[in-house]
Symmetry: C2
Subunit: 327 residues, 2 copies
């Protein structure tokens, strides 16, 4: 895995580490994914085991590709970091990860540069380099999934904050007396604008709804997709849920745009697949709320890279750190 | 007004331009205000007249002090700017100010470096250099006055946004169906957390209140100070107004801290004089709302520089631009 300075490789191996799976890909400098692999994380086995398997996965992927070296390795981690040191301070989805020296550990095994970022930050960077935010210097990337994540890019650079947890738009308080949030607070944006929030609102709507019928009257089958199908069929309850979600999201996003003078919002994640159920309301409500200073055109864009955003963002970071021009 | 390179002067003349008054001060590099003057702005007379009087004021102040030159001139302006060019794009409090080349105009008259900033940004910088935020690298300076203004400092530098209107915390939407705001939107933070908002809530509370009695039953006498006197005397209505204000402010500020991982909030402006009526609630509500990542100590501090924050912030900017070490 040595990186000989003479022969330039311009390939990075990037990892999206999740609580359930880790996805590994070999990425070229033009953002092309050359090869992929996916492993179960086995979060319960502890960090050493996970990182050992991660290192093995990287080696196997590089060997299969028939090249002996890569420019560097990038890892997107769902947690707080000491960014410069590449140390994971804490991760809600990875039990026992406290002050894990991830970068040093991987560098010792792989003998190449290793870059570590928060996963939501990596996704925002990916969209900026190879996706919907290409050429935009000030934007927030928002992931509407099981939770609500975010990555903030200011003047073309990631704004990480001291522990790389900046961009946590999901924990913006939106309701004075709201539903309890996984973070310990209540009434966070995440309780209304995530898939989990949408399902909760659907359950709160009672038993006699179109949503229940579409789910075969099984609570376990209700997900954001079922709610959006009901909304598309004209069901008022489902439409009301997306309306509430869009109005609330618009308030927070307009506030953030007013605060930071962002040029764009990039919206991705599983719930973004229901864009037709909330996109128009989101745009209209934001337009009402934007600060009427000098005329500005805040773009509200759907993410383009799907699940690969994080991996591609890490590729950008690896090439940036190692001085490879990004295609 | 020439600035001879040989003899170092290390004094700046700084101006806080308001819709009603402009305040001018000669400031040393240690943040000491050596001399002051105050003029009526006469906003109706148009920008050329105002800027001519501004230039004359600077010359007079410097002459009185017995020195012929100063390091540079700084102006804090209540509006949107092309920052690099020193052009005022627009100002809600200064009618007719559209694309005013303020920096070029003053430089042509005063023959020294001129720096222009948004006034709320200048105040935030002042607190960072000479006031409550000394040594803090990531903070929001909030002014609770007639409106609610803000200046955002990230990694020790002002975050201005493309048109220097970033930091507009006053126009963060906080209520779905809120009171109309001067900005054209409704339910902005400013409608609840400003002196204007506090007075409005006092009027909405009806005629039979302690607030009305303290104001001699004259609506014109009701201001935030009267409401805070009533609150201190145990009046439930007045206490309720400050409670609502504190809870709402806490939600937005906790959200911003979560989003940006700020280290401190510096709270100033006329309403901050009623700190004893809302400070405790603000702290408690924020504590509930802060994202429970790695342990962090977000400081909530009262501003220290009062009305001089903006002038001192401009002094910092002048010394920064001209390479004078700040004492």
């Amino acid at each position: 895995m040595k990186n000989p300075r003479r022969a330039r490789v311009d390939k990075s191996v990037c990892i999206d580490l999740g609580g359930t799976n880790m996805r590994i890909a070999l990425v070229g400098a033009g953002g092309e994914i050359l090869r992929r692999a996916r492993f179960v994380t086995h979060a319960d086995r502890g960090w050493r085991d996970i990182v050992e398997r991660m290192a093995r996965g990287v080696k196997e992927l590089v060997a299969t590709e028939g090249t002996e070296s890569c420019t560097g390795v990038g890892v997107g981690v769902p947690g707080a970091l000491l960014h410069k040191e590449g140390v994971v301070i804490d991760s809600p989805n990875l039990p026992g990860w406290h002050k894990v020296p991830l970068r040093r550990f991987l560098r010792d095994r792989l003998h190449c540069p290793v870059v570590v970022e928060n996963d939501a930050d990596a996704a925002a960077l990916g969209e900026g380099c190879y996706g919907a935010a290409r050429g935009i210097r000030n934007y927030l990337g928002i992931t509407l999934g099981t939770g609500v994540g975010g990555g903030l890019v200011l003047d073309g650079k990631l704004w990480r904050g001291p522990e790389a947890t900046a961009g946590e738009v999901g924990h913006f308080p939106v309701e004075t007396a709201g539903f309890p949030c996984g973070c310990g607070s209540h009434g966070c944006l995440e309780t209304v604008a995530s898939a989990t929030g949408i399902v909760r609102m659907a359950l709160e709507a009672g038993r006699d709804t179109e949503i229940r019928r579409l789910s075969g009257d099984s609570v376990a089958n209700i997900d954001a997709e079922v709610v959006s199908r009901a909304a598309r069929q004209g069901d008022r309850v489902a439409q009301g849920i997306f309306h509430r979600m869009a109005v609330t999201l618009a308030m927070v996003l307009a506030g953030i745009v007013n605060l930071l003078q962002l040029e764009a919002l990039i919206i991705g994640g599983g719930v973004a697949a229901s864009w037709d159920c909330f996109g128009d309301t989101l745009r209209q409500e934001m337009q009402k709320r934007l600060f009427s200073g000098p005329p500005r055109d805040v773009r509200i864009l759907q993410a383009e890279l799907g699940d690969d955003a994080g991996i591609l963002g890490m590729a950008r970071r690896v090439f940036e750190e190692t001085g490879v021009p990004i295609g």
